[in-house]
């Protein structure tokens, strides 16, 4: 979706402000919101692409006024509600008011280390061959789906070069909609800074994105 999350090239946000000796979390609730989000991935009621969409799918003004973990938490609330795992009256009451929906599994303390170490690899087996090879000239499609995509606006319509075939990976645009993993070939695609930003762009700049095959056409 063309939301506030797609920030590449936007002006007016001011300087980057690194915080010396920054703590990992800035408040106790951030720790709990972070951990709840990770733990609630375990019951398998959604996938990472659905989570990302739940975070970005909001009014741009609201998105920009929320802190990072506020966005995470709001997305968690949304997904829990959408799947009837928690209802509004329960969050208001601060207590469970009805029987839990059965879920396949939950994250037990004994499984934490192993679950984190395993992660969630997204590369899949295939007997297909990639349409592009390193050095090929491609163009990023001009697409504007209202649903989740990982093709940022600032490269859409622009010409670039395939640098590397990364592998055959889960396609977020499908996965986020519950339409299956629909894996696709994934590439590192390089764009000249002046192709993206015009004649005033930094001549020493090259930007790459990781782009799935459905995002690209030959150029």
């Amino acid at each position: 979706m063309n939301g506030a999350q797609d920030m590449g090239g936007v002006h007016g946000f001011g300087p980057v402000e690194p915080e010396p000796n920054e703590p990992v979390f800035h408040a106790g609730w951030e720790k709990r919101a972070f951990a709840l989000t990770l733990a609630m991935a375990m019951p398998g009621q959604w996938n990472i692409d659905m989570s990302r969409f739940a975070r970005e799918n909001r009014d741009p003004g609201e998105y920009l006024s929320m802190s990072y973990y506020q966005i995470w938490f709001a997305a968690l609330e949304t997904m829990l509600k959408e799947r009837d795992l928690v209802s509004d009256d329960e969050t208001v009451a601060g207590h469970a008011l009805r029987e839990p929906k059965p879920v396949a599994r939950i994250l037990s303390p004994g499984a934490v280390a192993q679950v984190l170490y395993r992660g969630g690899p997204t590369e899949r087996e295939t007997n297909t061959t990639p349409a592009f090879k390193p050095g090929d000239h491609v163009r990023a499609k001009n697409i504007n789906p209202r649903t989740h995509t990982r093709l940022p606006r600032y490269v859409r319509g622009h010409a670039g070069t395939i640098e590397r075939v990364i592998g055959f990976h889960v396609f977020p645009d499908s996965n986020a909609q519950g339409a299956g993993e629909n894996p696709q070939w994934l590439y590192t695609v390089c764009f000249d800074g002046r192709e993206l930003w015009g004649a005033d762009g930094d001549p020493t700049l090259t930007v790459s994105v990781d782009a799935w095959e459905p995002y690209l056409v030959p150029a």
Partner: protein, 202 residues
């Protein structure tokens, strides 16, 4: 999502705090989460997983050419040799800085970051100023970090739009010949592995 996140007024923070607490209670009562598992998740990313992991990887790459070659070829497995793997680091690529090329990593769409080697991202990495400008004005961003690169240095910005995660291997500082890995690792800063900083000088 700006760099001024911590200036939210107090009542708003309190409301968020109450909502998070309420939801944790509901989820716990329903049996969807075990609070002891939550404690362990927090402890893992506060105490165990952080940029010291990545510094060890970089220092080893500086000291051991065979390791460096494995790291550049297949970073995920080379990093796993040191015991670091998993969530948000399932597919890692190592990016070598050279005298002619400087690499910088961003996620313009959210906050993708190689957790097993760098831990959780700092606020600035997730902020609008960094996400908006890293791809269009990386030299300006570097200036915000007090860094000026030679005018002719090629800048390569990697927008982390897939589940690939990127780790910059900065150049080894001069004057460190013969140093052991542990000592070299002290020079490797978090920002030097994102590409918004340089290693400390000996």
């Amino acid at each position: 999502m700006t760099g001024h996140d911590h200036h939210h007024d107090h009542s708003e923070l309190t409301e968020t705090q109450l909502r998070v607490r309420a939801l944790e209670t509901v989820l716990t009562e329903k049996g969807y989460v075990d609070p002891a598992a939550l404690d362990l998740l927090i402890e893992t990313y506060e105490k165990k997983v952080g940029p010291r992991n990545g510094a060890r990887v970089v220092a080893k790459a500086w000291a051991d050419p065979a390791y460096r070659a494995r790291l550049v070829k297949d970073a995920t497995s080379a990093i796993a040799e040191l015991g670091y793997a998993g969530r948000q680091g399932e597919h890692i690529v190592a990016l070598e800085n050279t005298p002619n090329r400087h690499n910088m990593v961003v996620c313009t769409l959210c906050s993708c970051y190689p957790w097993p080697v760098l831990g959780l991202p700092p606020v600035w990495y997730k902020s609008a100023p960094y996400r908006s400008r890293a791809v269009s004005d990386p030299r300006g961003v570097l200036k915000d970090f007090g860094i000026t690169l030679p005018a002719g240095t090629e800048i390569r910005v990697w927008d982390s739009t897939s589940e690939n995660r990127y780790l910059v291997i900065p150049m080894r500082p001069a004057g460190t010949e013969g140093w052991i890995e542990e000592r070299l690792a002290e020079l490797v800063t978090r920002d030097s592995m994102i590409g918004t900083g340089l290693p400390k000088q000996p």
